[in-house]
């Protein structure tokens, strides 16, 4: 457990905690602009976390990932979403939410606790880069999932998925660190393509249905 005291680890922990907080913030905000902002912040933090690990392991591939994360997740996706959807559809706030904000935050806290209990060191006996960050990553995954569950609007769901993705990414760098670059790159590519297609779909839905809220997607049932 000497690692825990090293400055990289402290920084990494700090970044992870902030990422988690961003996830909570997303969960707790109704305004799309805020939501996107928190996501962008989270992505920046993620990029920082990647950079820390890259520095520690001296891995050029991870450095590249950190930069990509910053550019695409931290900048590209939020900006594109804001400009092409939120602004164009003049969306302000996600009106339809299945659960009250405070309730969902409480559930989120419970999920974080679950992640901590499940991912405690006893259950992960192998060598870890950062013992504390793993449960945080899992908590982010769960919180992202919760976002998707409680948010009605398609854009909110998309952002929820991106948070899940961020959690997985954090998990990847903290749990195993040395994911093969080709895989990481592929994941990135998928992400970008996925976001593009989803954005196209959302705008298509908005055109067709005059609303891109998932609460209006109830035609197919049974």
């Amino acid at each position: 457990m000497t690692q825990a005291t090293s400055p990289d680890t402290i920084l990494l922990n700090l970044a992870s905690v902030l990422i988690l907080l961003c996830a909570f913030a997303c969960l707790g905000s109704k305004l799309f602009d805020r939501y996107l902002g928190y996501y962008a912040l989270q992505s920046v933090l993620l990029s920082a976390a990647a950079a820390i690990v890259a520095e520690k392991l001296d891995s050029p591939a991870l450095w590249a990932l950190a930069v990509l994360t910053l550019l695409i997740k931290g900048l590209g996706i939020p900006v594109a979403t804001r400009r092409y959807l939120v602004a164009r559809l003049s969306l302000k706030r996600d009106a339809a939410i299945t659960l009250g904000l405070s309730t969902s935050l409480i559930i989120g806290a419970g999920l974080t606790a679950l992640a901590y209990f499940a991912m405690r060191p006893a259950t992960l006996p192998g060598p870890l880069l950062d013992t504390a960050a793993v449960p945080l990553a899992m908590a982010v995954v769960l919180l992202g999932g919760l976002c998707m569950v409680v948010r009605r609007h398609t854009i909110a769901q998309l952002l929820g998925w991106l948070i899940v993705e961020n959690g997985a990414f954090l998990g990847a760098i903290t749990l195993v660190a040395t994911f093969p670059f080709i895989v990481e790159a592929g994941i990135f590519l998928d992400l970008v393509a996925g976001v593009l297609i989803m954005l196209a779909l959302v705008s298509g839905l908005a055109q067709r249905l005059a609303s891109a809220s998932a609460s209006d997607l109830r035609r197919l049932k049974g």
């Binding site: 499940a118 259950t123 569950v149 409680v150 009605r152």
Partner: protein
């Protein structure tokens, strides 16, 4: 000899396959005839091949190619199956002769012929299957192609429903059969029927019983045991006549074959209660079947219900055979099995005959309603005579074949005193049930023949019935078979004795009194009976009344109008109706029918004249209402109950996945403690 039989059966298969492949020729009359002739020829080959195997009484099997995990293609010739193969061939022969005149050339008929010949092939497959997988493939193919037979005129009302009932219940039964075979194959570690039979005794008793019950119910669906019989009266009437004949003559018999296969070969030997179960179910089936038959006005539905009755008789006999075997009376066991098979063959002949003739009548008059027929004995004399032979056969009257096998079965039941008393009483009650069903069968066919064929035509359509152009040969062949199965009973008994020996391992010594063509029911001195001489004597002794008649030398016979109590003119509808004929039964067994009567009078004439009266009678569909409907309703309501799961709400859908993930974490958490 086995080789010859195998070649003959192969010929039958090839001929049927050819008939199926070239069925498209049936668009023309000549092609139709050629196709039917090929099919009939195949039937002849099957009769010969099956006959050889039955007489020879030995088993043989051969595996084609190497097997794999799924199974192997093993075919076998077994004497038990051979008896059914003969029946199959006979029916194929008769239908082959019948069909070209019955069907109109056209693409519908072409499709029908293709399906029919494949169904024949599949039935043969069931009977020569030596491997579970072959059996099941052939079995369900038979079901599927029989279903397509029923759907020949799918645009007509009621056909879809009847056919679907057949298919759905066939599938339900099939699932049980699959379960029975799967369990047995897993427990014995083989898919080969012969090996399975050899190893089944090592299977634990509870599993053996499970397998038996599954097989009994599973095959019971196809055989039409009460309460699994409800498809028969729905599916039979809507199929073409030869299709109904095939269904009733053969397909339901293969259900019996399945039960016998399990009871006597695959699970040779079981506790007494297996037999009791089969006997009781059989007896109930016989009575319920005939009770519904006797009040039925639709000729084909009447025949279908009556098939239920006969299956009941056969299964009763089979159950009795099992009881005797369990009660240490192997000879009686073998004897009862023989009787059951005999009755199976008999029923196959006369029931097919009657269905074919029902089709002829329907073609000639356009109706199956007995109360709209009548007078056919005069208008369609040859058809009527052939039908009368079938009627006498099915009613179990001497000197025809139904009588012989029923006699055999009763003789077996009478010997119930030879086993433990409680089981014996079961046989007594079964005997009483069969007696009741026999008596009611006579009534049912007096009804069918008396109302349907005799008297004055009850409708204009019936009055216009003509015989020219109607098929005769097919039913006539079966009529001949009925007579042969009665007069030739001793020969049949020898052959079936071989079958029973091969199946049960008991050589039935006293079957025939030497030199006298007299049948002995397993135990010497119990009874004796000679169907051959009885028939001869019955005919011969009629010289006496003839002599008396001639001696009387009365004045000439005068033809007069029927006496009608002084009415001005006797109208056809003044005749006794079928509904009235069956009325005493409706009253006596009202508990079962729970009938609804509707009597509608045209006017309340103060002078007391009733005017036209409309009379409706509906029987409560007991099994549908209290057995099938609740099951269907339960499944439906379950389906309705889960429907909101797929409400269209994406958030809900995401929640499912989310919850499963959370549960996975919790599960992981719990496990790691």
């Amino acid at each position: 000899m086995t080789g010859v039989a195998a070649i003959l059966l192969l010929c039958a298969a090839v001929l049927w396959l050819a008939a199926a492949s070239f069925a498209f020729l049936a668009r023309t009359r000549a092609g139709l005839a050629a196709c039917a002739a090929t099919s009939a020829l195949g039937g002849t080959a099957a009769v010969a091949g099956g006959g050889i195997v039955a007489l020879h009484g030995t088993e043989a099997s051969r595996t084609i190619g190497a097997g794999n995990v799924v199974g192997a293609v093993t075919l076998q010739l077994s004497p038990l199956a051979a008896a059914f193969i003969v029946l199959l061939g006979l029916i194929a022969l008769a239908i082959g002769l019948f069909a070209p005149r019955y069907h109109r050339p056209g693409s519908g008929s072409a499709f029908y012929f293709c399906v029919y010949n494949v169904a024949l092939l599949a039935s043969l497959g069931v009977l020569v299957a030596g491997n579970v997988v072959v059996f099941l493939v052939a079995w369900e193919s038979m079901t599927v192609f029989s279903y397509l037979l029923i759907m020949r005129h799918h645009q007509w009302r009621g056909v879809m429903a009847g056919g679907f009932l057949f298919l759905a219940l066939g599938e339900a039964g099939f699932a049980l059969i699959v379960a029975a075979f799967a369990i047995l194959s897993v427990k014995t570690g083989t898919l080969d029927l012969a090996a399975m039979a050899a190893r089944s005794h090592a299977v634990p008793g509870a599993w053996r019983s499970t397998v038996f019950v599954l097989a009994l119910i599973g095959f019971g669906f196809k055989a039409g045991l009460v309460p699994l019989h409800i498809w028969l009266p729905e599916a039979h009437p809507v199929a073409p006549a030869d299709g109904s004949g095939f269904l009733s003559g053969l397909v339901i018999k293969l259900g019996v074959y399945g039960i016998m296969l399990f009871a006597f070969q695959l699970l040779a030997g079981g506790p007494m209660w297996w037999g009791v179960l089969a006997t009781v179910i059989g007896a109930v089936t016989a009575v319920v079947g005939v009770l519904y038959a006797v009040i039925e006005e639709d000729f084909k539905r009447l025949l279908a219900f009556h098939s239920v009755e006969n299956i009941g008789i056969i299964v009763t006999a089979t159950g009795a055979a099992m009881m005797f075997r369990a009660g240490h009376q192997p000879a009686l066991g073998a004897y009862m099995l023989l009787a059951a098979i005999y009755h199976t063959v008999n029923h196959g002949t006369y029931k097919t005959l009657l269905f074919l003739e029902a089709g002829v009548v329907e073609h000639a008059t356009g109706t199956r309603d007995l109360d709209r027929l009548g007078g056919l004995a005069r208008l369609m004399p040859r058809t009527s005579v052939v039908t009368l032979i079938g009627t006498l056969g099915i009613a179990g009257l001497p000197p025809l074949n139904g009588f012989v096998s029923e006699w055999l079965i009763f003789q077996g039941l009478f010997q119930g005193f030879r086993i433990q008393p409680l089981a014996g009483v079961v046989l007594v009650l079964a005997g009483a049930a069969l007696a009741l069903s026999g008596g009611l069968a006579v009534m049912a066919f007096a009804h069918a023949y008396g109302i349907g064929f005799l008297g004055i035509p009850r409708s204009r359509a019936a009055a216009q019935a003509r015989e020219t152009g109607q098929p005769l040969a097919g039913a006539a062949v079966l009529a001949g078979a009925c007579v042969a199965l009665s007069l030739g009973a001793p020969a049949v008994l020898i052959a079936l004795g071989q079958v029973a020996r091969a199946v049960t391992g008991v050589q039935l010594r006293p079957v025939l009194l030497p030199g006298k063509l007299t049948i002995i029911p397993a135990h010497l001195n119990f009874a004796a009976f000679s169907p051959t001489y009885l028939a001869v004597f019955l005919v011969g002794v009629s010289a006496v009344p003839l002599l008396i008649y001639l001696v009387g030398r009365g004045a000439r016979t005068r033809t007069v109008p029927v006496w009608d109590g002084g009415m001005l003119r006797f109208r056809p509808r003044m005749q006794y109706t079928g509904a009235a004929f069956a009325n005493p039964i409706k009253v006596t067994f009202g508990r079962l029918y729970q009938p609804e009567f509707h009597v509608e009078r045209a006017s309340d004439d103060p002078a007391g004249r009733s005017g036209p009266v409309r009379y409706d009678f509906h029987v409560l569909p007991l099994f549908q209402r209290y057995l099938y409907d609740p099951v269907v309703a339960a499944v439906r309501s379950l389906a309705r109950f889960v429907r909101p799961l797929q409400s269209g709400d994406v958030n809900l859908y995401l929640l499912y996945i989310f919850l499963v993930v959370v549960i996975a974490y919790l599960f992981y958490l719990i496990q790691s403690y």
